[in-house]
């Protein structure tokens, strides 16, 4: 084997929805699917940030395993047979969305992001007309201590986009997630009020990437908060080219 062949990425061949596709070793199912024009729904994934598999909306079936696997963090394998749509997947994606709604207090009609929310849009796209699980109505706070932004825990889906953009793009690592399971919530610094944060640069990247109305700009009223996301892949690309 020439030394060069160890450097070039190995090519994997697999099937997605019966279509023969090829991918480089280590590539994720989601990216390969997209390159081949196959769309898989996602919520926590955002181009330009690392994938963490937090929302589970991108679940796919892989032949040979009874488990459903998140496409955004599952690497391709030689000979893999992936299915991205099936009755089972449709059912579980709907259930995941309903659970996200039932876990916090998403009251779309009085939300700053009403009409511009990824969760709301995803629910609509998946034909959701109601939530079959009992709502939990947890007591959640709102942190309005920051000069420019507001954090509303009632609307957080724990996607960790804010955590990742602040760490990976801004380099501040103000955000983190504290607690486990249903008790988890995002914090700034050591769970201090955001407005008192020593690390936050007030760049607003977290606000722009947040898929819901959990993070918003002050002074925006119901349905006014639209988000700008394009900057993330752009910044990542620029950095790679340096």
């Amino acid at each position: 084997m020439s030394p060069l062949s160890t450097l070039t990425p190995r090519v994997k061949t697999l099937k997605i929805n019966g279509l023969d596709v090829s991918a480089s070793e280590g590539e994720k199912i989601l990216d390969v699917a997209r390159q081949n024009g196959i769309q898989i729904p996602t919520l926590c994934q955002l181009d330009g940030l690392t994938s963490v598999g937090a929302c589970r909306l991108c679940l796919v079936e892989v032949k040979g395993t009874p488990k459903l696997l998140p496409a955004c963090v599952t690497s391709v394998e030689e000979g893999m047979e992936v299915t991205t749509t099936s009755e089972r997947l449709v059912k579980y994606r709907q259930m995941i969305l309903e659970l996200l709604f039932s876990e916090r207090n998403h009251i779309c009609s009085v939300c700053v992001s009403n009409g511009h929310c990824d969760l709301q849009g995803m629910a609509q796209a998946h034909g959701m007309t109601h939530v079959r699980f009992p709502y939990l109505y947890p007591q959640q706070g709102v942190d309005a201590s920051h000069r420019r932004y507001v954090m509303d825990h009632n609307r957080c889906i724990l996607c960790a986009r804010c955590v990742r953009v602040c760490d990976e793009i801004e380099g501040a690592h103000t955000w983190d997630i504290q607690g486990r399971g249903g008790d988890a919530f995002v914090i700034t610094d050591f769970n201090q009020p955001w407005g008192e944060s020593q690390t936050c640069t007030s760049c607003g990247k977290c606000v722009q990437v947040c898929p819901t109305g959990a993070l918003s700009e002050k002074g925006k009223s119901v349905a006014e908060m639209t988000k700008k996301r394009e900057f993330v892949p752009y910044l990542t690309l620029m950095r790679e080219e340096l």
Partner: protein, 176 residues
């Protein structure tokens, strides 16, 4: 043709869904030929009648009275429609749920009041611990989310039901 027996009820909501229904304007005249409005905040009828074909419910189940009402309505209705986000998700009324009813009543009737501060215990039905969507209390046949659902949507849902079809709103409606 026999007219369909239609009812509309108003539980814990703002009446916005009923207003949207009225926004059908002249389309109401077309509907009026095909339906008999047997019970509604818009007609003078005290008792919810038997044998209702379609009932549109606005609002969430928030008080003891709401709960009794919706159970009676369900037993007397063929097709029960949750109309609007309050009925479907509990929406704005559910904003009190993370708190206890006592705290809400104290805030409304004692803390913010200068004259005759007292929590009413007559004529006002006691609150349930939480405001809940209608389908958590009784079976719902058709869900029409939206705050409020548009007049056009309400009209098309009613027309579908009058034609004997179950409207499939998947993908056409959203919360909020």
């Amino acid at each position: 043709m026999e007219r369909a027996r239609i009812a509309t009820v108003w539980l814990d909501g703002c009446s916005g869904c009923h207003m949207s229904f009225l926004d059908l304007d002249e389309a109401l005249l077309v509907l009026a030929d095909r339906i008999e409005l047997v019970y509604s905040p818009l007609v003078d009828q005290k008792e919810f009648p038997e044998n209702v074909d379609v009932t549109l419910v606005e609002g969430s189940v928030s008080s003891v009275e709401d709960e009794e009402k919706i159970r009676r309505i369900r037993s007397r209705t063929k097709i029960l429609v949750s109309l609007g986000d309050c009925a479907v998700t509990s929406n704005v009324p559910s904003m009190r749920n993370p708190l206890k009813p006592e705290a809400i009543l104290r805030r409304a009737y004692i803390e913010n009041v200068t004259v005759q501060a007292q929590i009413p215990n007559q004529d006002v039905p006691p609150l349930l611990p939480e405001a809940r969507p209608v389908h958590e209390t009784v079976k719902v046949d058709v869900f029409v989310p939206g705050c409020p659902p548009s007049a056009g949507l309400i009209g098309s849902v009613l027309t579908e039901l009058l034609e004997g079809r179950t409207p499939d709103l998947a993908g056409q409606v959203r919360f909020g």
